[in-house]
């Protein structure tokens, strides 16, 4: 698509869909009603199992549809369409976003007016439009946890001034062509989360500004395509966060600040979150080499062997810490540990009644003494024996789990060592082949 004129440069709007058929019609209807004359909409479907593809074909025949044979995540899905675009600007939109009529005009015009701006983002509201969801984003130090300006604040114009931000979320993100040409596509090794943080950081490093535009408004229903508060969510989220950290942050800061703060932070998390984080540390351990290569590609120093060893050790310790304490019954500080509650104990009768309270409690005790207590006590005793056995059994399971876990970590390390050796052998082989080719040529 070529620009009609300079006032309205060409724009491709990419909507990445995965099982969001219930939201897509409102999203696409709003996009097709935009007050902007020069744009096209592309829906990338990440192998949905609902009827969203059929629905787009049937109800939005003018929308281009690109299908992916598998769900390859946010970055890879968007890249499928990004590769095919040649417009002046590209805008990424989530299928659960309903944009306002002038949204696109407001996203594009700051970049038209100022060539240093490479990426713009919206003011996003929760459904109902009273609470702000996103007014630009920032990355906290030292854990690289992301934050949103204005999050859950009632909108009274306090975020109505455009400003430079660390990142804008991918639910509504506009990027100029020159940025794509200079820094390339999104990093497909982020399956979900942090892709936009990564992309914005890369754009800023290339000299472009990332700007929040308050006039570009939309409603973001958020997380229709992902279920939060389960282990898988936290695992994906933290795996991406550690990829971001290792890809972009100074190793010295990660070692000196991030790791200790992360260790203390784990104590504050509920078990599901901790377990997700624990899986994320393992996933990160398994992928350290590709992450270091990505770091090198971003022109940052490769960690020294000593730093690699320290980081490896630190991730294992974090993993152990995240996994361990909420579940170990041997943790005596844990009031809910099985040992603390395994015994069902009789309690004396009490009564709150004034004057006659004591008499009521005494009468009940006497009544119970006739037969009930003797009858129930035998049952309680058996239940307590069973509880004690189950606790003992459960503790043995914990020990077994820890053993298997330790074996798993050891095998991961062995595999990592083997991968390193294979890479070395491969390099040697290539060198031998090159020498052999030279030798053959001379003969």
């Amino acid at each position: 698509m070529t620009p009609v004129n300079q006032s309205f440069p060409s724009v491709t709007i990419i909507v990445l869909n995965w099982n969001a058929g219930g939201f897509l019609p409102d999203c696409l209807t709003a996009l097709l009603d935009l007050n902007y004359p020069n744009f096209q909409v592309v829906v990338v479907d990440n192998n949905s199992s609902d009827d969203s593809v059929e629905m787009v074909r049937r109800s939005f025949p003018h929308v281009e549809l690109i299908g992916s044979p598998t769900n390859r995540g946010f970055a890879a899905g968007n890249n499928l369409a990004l590769r095919q675009t040649d417009t002046d600007f590209v805008v990424l939109v989530n299928p659960d976003v309903i944009v306002d009529a002038d949204w696109l005009h407001h996203l594009i015009s700051p970049m038209q007016a100022d060539e240093t701006i490479g990426i713009t983002g919206s003011k996003l509201f929760y459904p109902g439009r009273t609470l702000i969801q996103h007014a630009g984003g920032y990355i906290t130090s030292p854990q690289a946890l992301p934050g949103h300006y204005g999050l859950r604040e009632a909108d009274s114009g306090q975020h109505d001034v455009p400003r430079d931000v660390d990142y804008v979320i991918g639910a509504s993100l506009a990027v100029r062509r020159e940025v794509i040409e200079q820094i390339g596509l999104m990093d497909e090794d982020f399956f979900l989360y942090y892709e936009e943080c990564d992309y914005c950081l890369r754009a800023r490093r290339a000299g472009f500004r990332v700007v929040y535009v308050p006039e570009a408004t939309a409603v973001h229903i958020e997380s229709v395509t992902v279920t939060r508060n389960n282990i898988a969510y936290f695992q994906t989220y933290h795996t991406s966060r550690w990829r971001y950290l290792f890809k972009h942050w100074p190793i010295a800061i990660i070692l000196a600040e991030t790791i200790p703060v992360e260790a203390a932070w784990l104590d504050t998390l509920p078990p599901v979150h901790r377990q997700g984080a624990s899986h994320a540390y393992v996933a990160t351990l398994k992928n350290l080499r590709p992450i270091w290569r990505a770091r090198q590609a971003a022109d940052l120093a490769f960690p020294t062997p000593d730093e690699q060893t320290q980081l490896d050790r630190a991730l294992r310790d974090l993993r152990q810490k995240a996994w361990q304490s909420p579940y170990l019954a041997a943790d005596t500080n844990n009031a809910l540990s099985l040992e603390n509650i395994q015994v069902v104990a009789e309690r004396p009768f009490t009564s709150q009644l004034p004057l006659v309270g004591k008499a009521v409690a005494w009468l009940r005790t006497m009544w119970g003494n006739v037969a009930t207590r003797h009858y129930v006590r035998a049952l309680i005793q058996q239940q307590n024996e069973f509880n004690q056995l189950v606790t003992s059994y459960f503790n043995q399971h914990q020990v077994k789990l820890m053993q298997q876990d330790a074996n798993g970590i050891e095998m991961i390390q062995t595999l990592a060592n083997l991968s390193t050796q294979i890479a070395q052998v491969n390099e040697q082989l290539q060198a031998v082949e090159a020498r052999l080719a030279r030798l053959t040529q001379r003969q």
Binding site: A371, T372, Y375, A378, F386, Y393, Q404, V425, Q428, R435
Partner: protein, 123 residues
């Protein structure tokens, strides 16, 4: 309460302990002991027994389910152990093969170095 030990895998015994049963009243008192027992049984039959029995059944079902879950976990551990043993053996084999390939590569490297020297001498 005397602490009993249980070995991992012995869910059969755990299952027998999971069923809480009513016990007969007893009394050590001479002469009136039998009377006390019969009185308590009668007293208990008025309401308590009928009140507690359904609770007991529910608790027993829960206990049984706990044992069944622990048994399933045992099976899972066994499978994991097998998988880990196989994986460890595969890794060890891979390591051995890689060592052999590495040594062979070293030999080829040395042969190649000799050929390179010969070629440069002859030219």
């Amino acid at each position: 309460m005397k602490e009993e030990k249980i070995a991992l895998g012995d869910t059969e015994w755990l299952l027998t302990k999971s069923q809480v049963k009513e016990r007969q009243f007893t009394s050590d008192k001479p002469i009136v002991g039998k009377l006390i027992v019969r009185f308590r049984e009668a007293w208990n039959s008025v309401a308590t027994k009928w009140y507690v029995r359904p609770l007991l059944q529910q608790q027993n079902s829960f206990n049984q389910l706990v044992v069944s879950q622990l048994h399933e976990h045992d099976q899972w551990f066994i499978l994991q152990d097998r998988a880990q043993t196989e994986l460890a053996s595969d890794l060890a084999q891979m390591s051995t093969h890689l060592g052999q390939i590495s040594r062979r590569l070293q030999q080829l490297d040395e042969q190649l170095a000799r050929l390179e020297t010969q070629q440069s001498d002859s030219s």
